[in-house]
Amino acid sequence: MTSTILVIAEHADGQIRPVTGEIVACARQLQQLQPADIRIVVLGDPVETLAETLSQKTGLPVDAIRTPHLAEYHGDTYRDVLTDFIKELQPRYICAAHTSQGLDFAPGLAVRIKAACITGVEAIVEADGEICFTRRICGGKLTADIASPNAQIVLSVLPGSFSADSSNATTAGAICYRTAISETSARTIPCGVLRSSVKASGITEADVVVAAGRGIGDRENIALIHRLTALFSGSAVAGSRIVCDQGWLDYAQQVGVTGFSVQPALYIACGISGAVQHVSGMRASGFIVSINSDPNAAIFNVSDICIVEDLKTFIPLFIETATSPHPD
């Protein structure tokens, strides 16, 4: 019997999320190392349009589980319905997204079905005859290759790591409809999705973004970042989540998965470690310069120019160099 790789589709607002295509790409790579059928499962109500989109885009067989009253994501329902489905299908791998949805249901699902769980998968490699899943550790400074001999493995796939096939499949995959009998869980009652009132503070339009991280050390040093920013025209100050949590900058200035995505011509990262959640919001910038006192900081892996210095002394020095009359 061939084994199965199950992809759990992610959707919100009635749309399949782009990360779903990336999970499929991850599954296809896994299939090269471990021959298996790939199937996609999608839960929702209504589920028809979602299932058709998936089948047309990927050409893969889709199990569409009509789950009464489940318009948006709900953790308890996902775990209940998926457990029943997985017990029947017995897939070898179960691939979810490493997102606020996937991370909410996948670890508990793994416990329930007695599967191993590996989160934040960004690559698949073979080492010592074992299939290993590469993930970041230590704030992104290192990677670890993880393996498991377990019969079932739940994976969460890091967004931005596998490239989704953008073309439509030549033949659509078969769709198999079923209806879940899920008792509406009384322990967690959804109260709706709230939309943020925070609007980006010009950081999304700026040509040059200078971003401050926890490495600035103190609220007072924000002034340094402002002085550096003022050297460039069309520039704006941004920050990492930590700096915004501290109240040193406003949430309207936060770059990253839970903040804003920016694509300026120049991004200067000052005292930012380079956690994936931050990098996903700035990696598309034209040119990236990073200043960090740790030569192994993860931010240097996504930078064009790396400067290993204490920003508190280097930034004033740079401002002085840039503003003093040129000797030549």
Partner: protein, 257 residues
Amino acid sequence: MNILVCIKQVLAAAVRVFPDADTRWIRSDSDEYVMNRFDEFAVEAALQLREALSDGRVDVISVGPERAEAVIRRALGMGADDGIHIITKTCGPIPPAVTAALMAASVRNRNYDLILTGVMSEDDMNAQVGPAMAEMLDLPCATAVIQIERRGISTVYVEREMEGGMRDALEIRLPALLSVQSGAHPPRYPSLSRMLRANRRPIETIPSTDLGMTAPDIHVVRTAFPGKTRAGYFLEGSASEKAAQLLKIFQARSLMR
């Protein structure tokens, strides 16, 4: 309301780490350990709930080697009531399902109304311990929570953070487990007098070997430095030489006059 907060000791963010082929894990150039930052936010959230309700207690629990006692003391210094330390022998990484099972086994009969964890640990970054432990204890659960409000005696209202600034609002029946995301309530700093008092307090210790549990095997095969996605050109020389080079680079690319 009785609250338990799960906390972890991690290497400080500024410590340099290296892959270690012998142990298949990591090596560091210093042993500066701190409380996982997301757990500090969880402790803060618990203390604020206790203050708002002016009843109940906040206990903390940590799984880790002897040195992890320091983060329990810090949480007591922040204002937690009691500490539980599940002492492990290993120096390598502990799979998140094992950590979750150890804590689940030791708190199962302690009747906490609410269990909080940080959204993830800064070192292993699995983001699994909270939701895995909830499943083991059959508790309702929400992850990446940035707002918690008590509603009546048996319910909490929470908001979970999602991508792009969206929030998912839920009412959850107690007892429950929440993983806490960092937010606009920075963790308090323990005062010196509180730390002195905390250092004299007894901490309940449980050897992990006494808890007998199993979890699916996951193991680290190797660690490495990540690959680069860009040129990653390191400027050389003194700080002023680097500043001069950087200026030239900006000018050459017309990013600066």
